[in-house]
């Protein structure tokens, strides 16, 4: 998306309910600014994120997708984030093969106490995605208005 001639990436962030969503709330409580490009979808656990959701996001024109979960060992459901870690390692390398640069996808562990880390991660990620420009590789043009 272009705003005032400047490229504004669309970024979808999946946040687990227990750690990262609370971390995002903490960033809000502390008024730690991060780009409005980031839109958060709440999931119970990072392991709820089906690779299909990520593909769908790219297909519909997202420029970057980030997944946030509890730190390894801290998952509310004991082992969910380990599944995420493995699944996403596979998915991201496949996406990279398909031409979705690896900077457009990311998994980050953000605990409920890490509001600052959440904001910082989102700042960095948005900057990295903005530097790459628009995602044209997987975008389904039929979905475009």
């Amino acid at each position: 998306m272009q705003i005032n001639g400047e490229f504004q990436p669309k970024i979808v962030a999946f946040c687990c309910n227990w750690c990262s969503y609370a971390g995002a709330d903490l960033a809000g409580n502390n008024r730690l600014a991060y780009p409005e490009n980031v839109k958060i979808i709440k999931v119970p656990c990072s392991c709820r994120v089906n690779p299909m959701f990520i593909l769908r996001a790219f297909q519909r024109g997202a420029d970057g997708v980030i997944l946030c979960g509890c730190h390894p060992g801290d998952c509310h459901y004991t082992s969910g984030n380990y599944y995420t870690r493995r699944r996403m390692a596979l998915l991201f390398s496949m996406l990279n093969y398909l031409g979705i640069e690896k900077e457009r996808t990311r998994v980050e562990w953000v605990s409920a106490a890490e509001g600052a880390k959440f904001a910082q991660t989102m700042n960095e990620f948005t900057e990295a995605v903005a530097a790459l420009g628009e995602n044209k590789r997987l975008e389904d043009l039929r979905c475009k208005k």
């Binding site: 669309k10 008024r31 969910g80 208005k145």
Partner: protein, 664 residues
């Protein structure tokens, strides 16, 4: 088609300051399914909730979206509102336009635009919501308290007082914790033992309380109301039921050279020991690392002198399994190691001690029987230097110490300085401080008394170096107000070491699936409104395992945690989380992928008869979810190759709708 109502909250100026709420409610009016859209100053207020209730009745709404603060804040409130108006509470979705929009963005047009998109995503989700009905589960009316310090003791006493059975698990041979090691307590200077030991006796005598001392939690399973816990009762080689605590064995044991951890290694104990005279339970314990009999098979003195015949060298660790409705973590703290602070010469000189060691030195039951002497030569110190903030308030990049303020050091150092000047007026006492932090009832008055009445020298500055020279300690420090560097010849240096959570807390948090912050303190469900609950249902926090605090604060939190536990145990049934997994039997091919990833073992396979299109029947193996056991993580939904498994409340279709709405 759903009939959706959208309610945009201003949250005073919290949202309306950065988001044009009228524009948001207008934009969402045109979304598919939306039949009503409005905005109001405070949706969570009674008047705001009435707007929602009236709209549900008037417009026959089947689903609602509230654009407001975080669902962690008011989702429950709005669900109750919906339920009161006859709508299924799970037909409510929250668009978080405060924490994740208005508070982090500064500019009105971008804030408004993002709020609209978040609202659209929530509307898209509600369009696909289905009414859910939570299941019910019974509550085991017994609580577990992990840690037997003052926090655990108070929590256990309060729960037991309300009539519920409580078990305390303490890893040391006795309860009492750090408070049992203290001498006096600030700011009233009551003797710690005099106020703690009666409570310990109350615990021992309360018939609702069981103490598992010298025990550790081995495994935690289950969920709120129904935890299954395995407790390892370590072998103490003494039969607890027979031992009378007479202490003859601890006098006769020939192995005398065991560092006494209760006195922080400043004197020795025997291989068989009772940590201190008022220990509860007052039962001897054999230290297997030092006992000659256990190591070589030759000795057996304690067994010979024990008239009760309580010694049992063959005792083994015992695993106790018990069910609990609620668990309280009260694992406490420890002073940090001084190894990274070479400049204070802690490891070079015996006369550089930590404040906890100072407590033992001044305690009548301590290694010097309460006489303040130098640990090295037993002489009376004439110049004492106290150093505050040793390892507290260190930046992470300094790579040593802790970032937080340990909170208690200013006050206990004032106490130490005051008591020293009171008992030994011939000593010069210097306290080096960065800031003196005394927020608390009668705290600042206490500190001022130390300065004004007792003549303690408070110096704004830090000690840079301590070097042992002969039998003296040369202290090099700065006096910032005088802009001078000081060189003090001291006899004793006392370091106010930072405190850190006990090392056992981290593995325990993993077992409890309770979250922790970067310092290994347990995190609370909400930093202001739910300070004694962990985000994990049924797990509560008591004392310093949640953050540094002094005794009065610890006791208040302990009682608060007890009140929460009592509230939980008083219920006969708990409503569960209806957002659980469910399998579409027609699509399931019985591959077992979901069963393998489920962390709770909630998925089993059943053989079921299906009618085929040609009117024959066929038996197929399909997945079946036990809804009472499923916690709703969704791992199975992704593992399922055929897409048969889905999660209620977070269905694949719903999340995809959200993705589409955001990317639109």
């Amino acid at each position: 088609m759903q009939r959706i109502g959208v309610f945009v909250c201003w949250c005073g100026s919290n949202i309306a300051g950065t988001v044009d709420v009228q524009a948001v409610s207008d934009a969402l009016q045109n979304e598919p399914g939306v039949v009503f859209s409005t905005n109001y100053q405070y949706m969570c207020s009674q008047a705001g909730q009435d707007i929602i209730k009236n709209a549900i009745a008037e417009h026959k709404l089947t689903g609602i979206v509230v654009c407001s603060c975080s669902p962690r804040m008011h989702e429950a409130t709005f669900r109750k509102t919906a339920a009161a108006a006859g709508l299924n509470p799970y037909m409510v979705e929250i668009a978080n336009i405060r924490e994740q929009c208005s508070w982090v963005h500064k500019d009105m047009p971008t804030g408004t635009e993002k709020a609209i998109i978040l609202g659209k995503a929530a509307v898209a989700k509600v369009n696909l919501n289905a009414p859910l009905k939570p299941g019910e589960s019974p509550v085991t009316k017994r609580a577990l308290v992990i840690g037997g310090g003052i926090a655990g003791i108070q929590t256990a006493l309060d729960i037991a007082e309300a009539g519920f059975p409580v078990d305390i698990v303490e890893k040391k041979p006795t309860i009492g914790g750090k408070m049992a090691q203290l001498d006096k307590t600030f700011p009233t200077l009551d003797c710690a033992a005099c106020i703690l030991t009666p409570k310990m006796v109350d615990v021992a005598q309360n018939e609702n309380i069981r103490i598992f001392s010298y025990s550790e939690v081995e495994e935690v399973g289950g969920f709120v109301g129904n935890f299954d816990v395995k407790i390892r009762k370590k072998a103490r080689f003494v039969n607890e039921d027979i031992c009378t605590g007479c202490g003859i064995c601890t006098e006769k044991c020939p192995q005398k050279k065991v560092p006494n951890e209760f006195n922080l290694g400043m004197d020795n104990r025997r291989a068989i020991y009772i940590p201190f005279a008022q220990a509860v339970p007052k039962v001897a314990t054999i230290d297997a690392d030092y006992c000659t009999m256990l190591k070589t098979g030759k000795c057996g003195v304690c067994s010979k002198v024990c008239t009760a015949g309580a010694i049992d060298y063959t005792q083994k660790d015992e695993i106790i399994e018990e069910k609990y409705g609620a668990i309280v973590a009260a694992t406490g703290f420890n002073p940090i190691s001084m190894d990274k602070f070479d400049e204070y010469a802690y490891n070079q000189s015996k006369d550089v001690i930590t404040s906890l060691e100072f407590e033992r030195l001044t305690n009548a039951a301590g290694p010097s029987a309460g006489k303040l002497v130098r640990p090295s030569d037993g002489k009376h110190p004439h110049t004492i230097v106290f150093v505050q903030c040793v390892g507290s308030r260190c930046a992470a990049c300094a790579e040593k110490g802790k970032e937080y303020c340990s909170k208690i050091c200013c006050m206990y150092t004032a106490k130490h300085a005051m008591l020293t000047r009171d008992k030994y007026p011939d000593t010069d006492v210097y306290v080096f401080y960065i800031d003196v932090r005394t927020p608390g009832k009668a705290f600042d008055e206490f500190y001022r008394r130390a300065v004004e009445e007792y003549g303690v020298h408070y110096i704004k500055g830090m000690v840079g170096k301590v070097s042992p020279e002969g039998d003296k300690l040369m202290v090099q420090a700065s006096d910032l107000l005088a802009n001078k560097q000081l060189h003090i010849e001291a006899d004793l240096v006392v370091l106010a070491a930072a405190i850190e959570p006990d090392k056992s807390a981290r593995p325990l948090a993993t077992q409890l699936t309770a979250s922790m912050d970067t310092n290994d303190f347990f995190t609370e469900a909400h930093p202001k409104l739910r300070p004694v609950e962990s985000p994990t249902a049924g797990v509560f926090l008591s004392g310093t395992c949640q953050g540094p605090k002094d005794i009065p604060e610890t006791v208040s939190q302990a009682s608060a945690a007890a009140a929460k536990v009592i509230g939980l145990l008083a219920k006969d049934k708990l409503t569960g989380n209806p957002c659980v997994a469910g399998s579409d039997e027609l699509m399931c091919n019985g591959c077992s992928s979901c069963e393998r990833v489920c962390p709770y073992g909630a998925i089993t396979y059943v053989d079921k008869e299906f009618r085929m299109p040609d009117r024959t029947t066929r038996v197929r193996r399909v997945a079946s979810v036990n809804e009472a056991v499923c916690q709703g993580c969704g791992a199975c939904t992704v593992a399922c190759p055929s897409g048969a498994m889905d999660l209620k409340g977070f269905a694949t279709k719903q999340i995809i709708a959200e993705v589409d709405a955001i990317c639109r």
